[in-house]
Amino acid sequence: MSNPAIDAAFADEPAFIPYLAAGDPSYEASLEYVEALARGGADIIELGLPFSEPIAEGSTIQNAIVRSLQGGMTVGRYFEFVTDLDVDVPVVCMTYYNLIYQYGDESGPEPFVRKAKSVGIDGFVVPDLPAEEADPLREACDRHGLDLVFIVAPTTDDERLDRLVSLSSGYLYIQARLGVTGARDDVSNETTSSLDRLADYDIPKAVGFGIKTGEHARDIIAGGADGIIVGSALVDIIAEGTETDSPTEEPAAELESLCQELKAGALEGAQ
């Protein structure tokens, strides 16, 4: 049982999945930036809800999270943000488990998922929630028809892989290399071997961690992936914008054009 909007994103061609932290560096600017992703060809948007202890993120996204929190982002504002967002692609909420767990009066993830559903969120990626701890959230997602995407790491063995595939809905997030998020200059060999291992599983596979250029995108899709996830390379544009005090339009335009490049690379890889 998975979310049809997300299924659709993988239906015909490879899915391009950009990530940004909501509210980075401000609510208003961030709205424009996220909308630029859609214009640039996003098939799904992973929209980060910032948590104060982002243990899976490299410094680029950590800094984005700091900027967003300092800009006043809260869980309540995040839901408003999604409501205000004028895009036509499915939105996956990427956050850490404590924020999901704390929301609302009842204990457990149910209230958060209910609320997410009501503002139009289609699924979740929760980097600090391994299969072992996922049952309550998985159940809440099932109740509301949202996807829960699990991450497969280079260290994941076959036994765990089976379990992750069976728990995951929407797509699998293939972590391209060990470590934390962050843009790199090459594509890891581990990616290819991960994709090979997964070839027989019937679920879309999106590769993330370190993708930066159209060329990367092309190679990864050519290697068998169904989608690419790009975060830090995009966040870099926003970070630069804040440093040079650029007006919002400039980074937005750059974001859009990098998205186009990535998307084009992905399409090329699929040929």
Binding site: I55, Y97, Q102, D128, F150, P154, T155, V180
Partner: protein, 424 residues
């Protein structure tokens, strides 16, 4: 094969990235085999090394002057005499040795005040393992002597520039390193926190404190104490001395507990009350570190536990005059024991801790760590501690001299020594 406590009631668990899960499974397996089942004589080697290298057993000493002051028999469990100056070595040595048994080639650890970092650096040098310590930039600058010690023992010290540059950031950063290097690296966590099996494993390395305390109280006093008092940051010295007095300890059902029920031993965990128990939700700051007393359930650094957070679930900045207590979370097992009413959480504020720091130094000739001073401050309580009290002296205060004097100078303490000897 004995099994790991992965949860303590609703607390505990393993909230970590998938990339780390295989390492955590491997660690769990190693913990069960080597620590719980003493495979290859691991625990024998650990005990021999913590004895010869660490200086165990540490004494249980009657504090004559405090006993007179409080009109009770106050005994001190002298973890301050352990190599490195705090209980921390029990755990650091245990984990580095375990890493060696597991065939790991590199050690990483986080540190706040630098005590866990120095203990880990010492253990790594002793066992000939390369070692890197993450430490917030602010702590690097505040805790120079401990940075010197780590470097002199041959460890790399990696300053963490993110955020406020303190312990919380250092832990997150060490997890990031681990997520990258997990195949050849072991992360030596510094307290009974983090994902399973860490809380149980760290407790088991510190359990020797309570094992000795049981034996020594019987030998020296003829019975178990009425109460045991320990400060609690993450809670490792705390669970270390409490472990064998709790009902799921192998000892509480052992023959030696027939004579006096372990439940009659009151257990007090003394947290840092900081400058106030009130929180500033707006700024995300709790001017204390009293997560057992005032925190709520949540997930931090891999485990579900009690923590200081705002209503959204964002972690708050904590505060204490003692950097070793300055942490927004606490060990999940302690959270459970508090819910079960087995452990009583109490707290004392910065002022009381500083006053106790001077009182204990002057009356007993032992300069305590500022963390430990919290436990002594609690002795001023009206609570009924009984006639025989054991206080865990978790560490010595040499690391805190400058900080204690600086904080003392800001206050009007009745028992503060003057420093005019430097004036001329």
């Amino acid at each position: 094969m004995p099994e790991t406590d992965t949860t303590f009631g609703d607390y505990g668990g393993q909230y970590v990235p998938e990339a780390l899960m295989p390492a955590i499974e491997e660690l769990t397996d190693a913990y069960e085999r080597y620590v719980l089942a003493n495979e290859d004589g691991f625990m024998d080697e650990f005990r021999e090394r913590i004895h010869d290298f660490g200086g165990r057993p540490t004494p249980l000493q009657r504090a004559d002057n405090l006993s007179e002051r409080y009109d009770r028999d106050i005994y001190l469990k002298r973890e301050d005499l352990l190599h490195g100056g705090a209980h921390k070595l029990n755990n650091a040595l245990g984990q580095v040795l375990l890493a060696k048994y597991m065939g790991k080639e590199r050690i990483i650890a986080e540190t706040g005040a630098g005590q866990h970092g120095t203990a880990t650096a010492m253990a790594a040098a002793h066992l000939d393992m390369p070692c890197e310590i993450y430490m917030g930039r602010r702590d690097v600058n505040r805790q120079r002597p401990n940075v010197f010690r780590m470097r002199i023992n041959g460890a790399e010290v990696n300053p963490v520039d993110i955020g406020r540059g303190t312990l919380k950031e250092a832990i997150s950063e060490t997890m990031r390193d681990w997520a990258t290097t997990v195949e050849n690296t072991h992360y030596v966590i510094g307290s009974i926190v983090g994902p399973a099996p860490f809380p149980a494993m760290v407790r088991d390395f510190h359990r020797i404190i309570s094992e000795e305390t049981r034996r020594q109280t019987r030998e020296q006093y003829g019975r178990l104490p009425d109460s045991v008092v320990a400060c609690a940051g993450g809670g490792s010295n705390t669970m270390g001395i409490f472990a064998d007095f709790t009902s799921d300890s192998p000892f509480s059902t052992a023959p030696d507990s027939n004579t006096d029920a372990d439940e009659d031993v009151s257990l007090f965990a003394v947290e840092a009350g900081g400058s106030s128990l009130d929180v500033d939700e707006e700024r995300g700051v709790a001017p204390n570190s009293a997560s057992l007393s005032t925190g709520s359930e949540g997930v931090l650094h891999g485990a579900r536990t009690k923590l200081l957070q705002n209503t959204d679930g964002q972690i708050m900045e904590s505060h204490s005059v003692s950097s070793g207590l300055d942490y927004a979370g606490v060990g999940p097992e302690l959270a459970k024991l508090v819910d079960d009413d087995r452990v009583t959480p109490v707290n004392v504020d910065d002022d009381a801790a500083l006053e106790a720091f001077h009182r204990f130094s002057q009356e007993e000739g032992i300069i305590p760590a500022l963390e430990t001073a919290h436990a002594f401050a609690f002795l001023e309580t009206d609570a009924d501690l009984g006639e025989f009290v054991v206080v865990n002296v978790s560490g010595r205060g040499d690391k805190d001299l400058e900080a204690a004097l600086e904080e003392t100078a800001k206050r009007d303490l009745p028992n503060a020594p003057t420093m005019e000897v430097f004036d001329e």
